[in-house]
Symmetry: C2
Subunit: 387 residues, 2 copies
């Protein structure tokens, strides 16, 4: 039998919605997908040609790594918490991993990430290593109270951060973040006007495409992205600078594939890099309907060594609203019907079996002639579909 594709199968480490949307993009290009996850029948595995289940809660299982590497000559990740050591073991089995283990290792440690960004001359808040709670008093002398205390590894969506108001709270804050098992660092607290984000996709050849700069708005209680406005309603000069910083940040990491760059827009109009994610990012979901080429298709192209597609918007404005879990027993058919009746609302559901408060269960995108129009329709569809 002849093989009609020279590409793939493509391995994806992680079976959540990012893997599922990556697999949808791979399908369009005729590329088979292998999904690795620590449980069976994950959202991405249910649309993949092959599934490798890692036993227990660990990614560091030699048998599963061998099976995965045997199936997938090229591997990427949707879960940046897979230790870089595991990525190296996959490469030792003969597969290529993109982004590479060194890039991922740098990003996984937020202190090393900040060092690398600062060394590249990119704007980051002042930061310092923390060895023990007693360090905070001294560091506050340099950076000022309150301090933003962060775990160096495995934080996401606002977990892994604690704002420490004064020295009396130091021990409790460090323990809350898992010290002394987990290592910590502090940043000067940043006062920002808006949060911006940029998707950069960089090919194996070092060429990159930069998506439009967007504004992200977080849920104030859940500390989870609630909505995305594309393009960000900011001065074009600021947007250009955000795009420049984002591209340079991914180059500083020698990143490959789609990366999310989160930025703060400060009160003086300057920018500060908050965090990088070495994978497709929630702030880029709008690109599926909103851009000529989605972040997911460009991610697949990049890791397979194919040329990248245009990241430009297909409409003047695009709005995206996350469907955050409210613990509903299932997707209500009536709610889905109401959401689908909103003109031009593109409803995405991730096929997760269980809704938990704040969990990302899906999202809605709408394109429009103005941000007000696009956001209004995306928001109305999201409101119609409690989940």
């Amino acid at each position: 039998m002849q093989r009609a594709s020279a590409l793939g199968p493509l391995g994806i480490l992680g079976g959540g919605q990012l893997g599922r949307m990556t697999a949808e993009a791979a399908s369009r290009l005729g590329v088979d997908v292998v999904v690795a996850e620590r449980f069976q029948r994950s959202p991405a595995a249910r649309i993949a040609a092959h599934e490798v289940v890692f036993p227990g809660a660990t990614w560091d299982d030699d048998d599963a790594i061998e099976r995965f590497a045997d199936l997938a000559p090229v591997v990427t990740l949707e879960n940046e918490f897979v230790d870089a050591g595991v990525l190296r073991k996959i490469e030792a089995r003969g597969s290529r991993v993109w982004p590479g283990p060194t890039s991922v290792g740098t990003v996984q440690d937020k202190l090393r990430q900040k060092h690398a960004l600062a060394q590249a001359g990119l704007p980051v808040p002042p930061f310092r290593r923390v060895e023990e709670p007693g360090d905070l008093l001294h560091l506050a002398g340099e950076l000022g109270w309150p301090l933003m205390l962060k775990a160096r590894r495995d934080g996401y969506d606002g977990s892994g951060n604690v704002l420490v108001a004064n020295d009396a709270g130091s021990v409790e804050a460090c323990r809350k973040l898992g010290w002394p098992e987990r290592t910590l660092y502090v940043e000067r607290q940043v006062r920002f006007l808006r949060e911006l984000a940029v998707i950069v996709v960089r090919g194996r050849d070092g060429q990159s495409v930069v998506y439009p700069v967007v504004e992200t708005r977080q849920d104030p209680l859940l500390h989870v992205c609630r909505m995305v406005l594309a393009p960000a309603p900011v001065d074009p000069v600021i947007a250009r600078e955000a795009a420049r910083v984002a591209k340079a940040a991914i180059e500083a990491m020698d990143g490959v594939g789609a990366w999310g760059v989160e930025l703060f827009l400060l009160e003086d109009g300057s920018l500060s890099v908050n965090e990088l994610a070495p994978r497709p990012h929630n702030s880029g979901h709008y690109s599926i309907e909103g851009c000529v080429t989605s972040q997911f298709e460009n991610h697949v192209r990049a890791v397979l060594g194919l040329p990248l597609g245009e990241p430009t918007l297909v409409a003047p404005a695009v709005g995206m609203v996350n469907l955050l879990g409210q613990g509903a027993p299932c997707v209500s058919t009536g709610g889905l019907e109401r959401a689908l009746r909103i003109p031009g609302a593109h409803v995405h559901l991730y096929g997760k079996h269980e809704s938990r408060p704040g969990r990302k269960m899906g999202h809605v995108t709408a394109t429009g002639q103005s941000l007000e129009d696009a956001m209004d329709r995306a928001q109305r569809a999201a409101n119609a579909l409690p989940i």
Copy 2:
């Protein structure tokens, strides 16, 4: 464990590219898919949560039907050659099949299809039942030579049709189409200026959406669709009439889901229905990037009983060019690279393992400000990717 979707799994009879693109649309809505096919690892099955393999070459296998119906409360088809009797057996197992067995049974027999269209007052060429070759001489007295002789069942893409020039060719033509095992009918040969097509998606509630009228151009040797121009470059009066006829045709069939309606535009400016397909249709692939809601998403919505989305174009013009097999051993990476470099060319590959001459291996879609621009880019990308 709670279930986050009340919908699905959705069963799809047939595992080719139409099933695969339907499964991609289902994935976005969080709906699991079960693909039934007569061989393992079909293009659609490789992105489906479940696969049911029918043994041998038959769809009429009670065990497989039972397994399929047990998995899928709602079933649709991408292969209209599955006998309506099999669809009835699936319904007898408690699943709903959309479009319904009665609609599919009427369409499967092209003579009954033509009768139903004529009874609904829709324009079709004059046609007559053929019992044996000797009938043709008499029928030519009414309809004129040459006659278009057609098999009543199982023809597609130009197979199943023979043009008979005179009575001397009658026996050979009938035998070529499988007579006396297969039954036949004749139509008056239609002289047309253009071939048009319309996708109509009709919900379980009888509401339907009508996609823009497109022009299809066939490969003159292969008798396979080579390209689609959306919207068709015809007078708006003709396009309106084509849309009206197409909608009425699907209503006459009591169709549900996406249907393709092929029409001839005659020299006098009138229209004639050529054939109906009770499934998503090649002439609607442009809708994935070219319309607010693709034919595949609306097909999924329709068969699941959800409201339909807008079928309107997102750009002034959309071009689609099929990638017809040339027997290449595999997709050339160099060819794919060249195709992906064409700005705005959306390359779809179907993941078929073997390329055969004329086989539909993929397609390319491009949107543009004019048909010339869109078709040029789609054609250049297709030319770059021999397959």
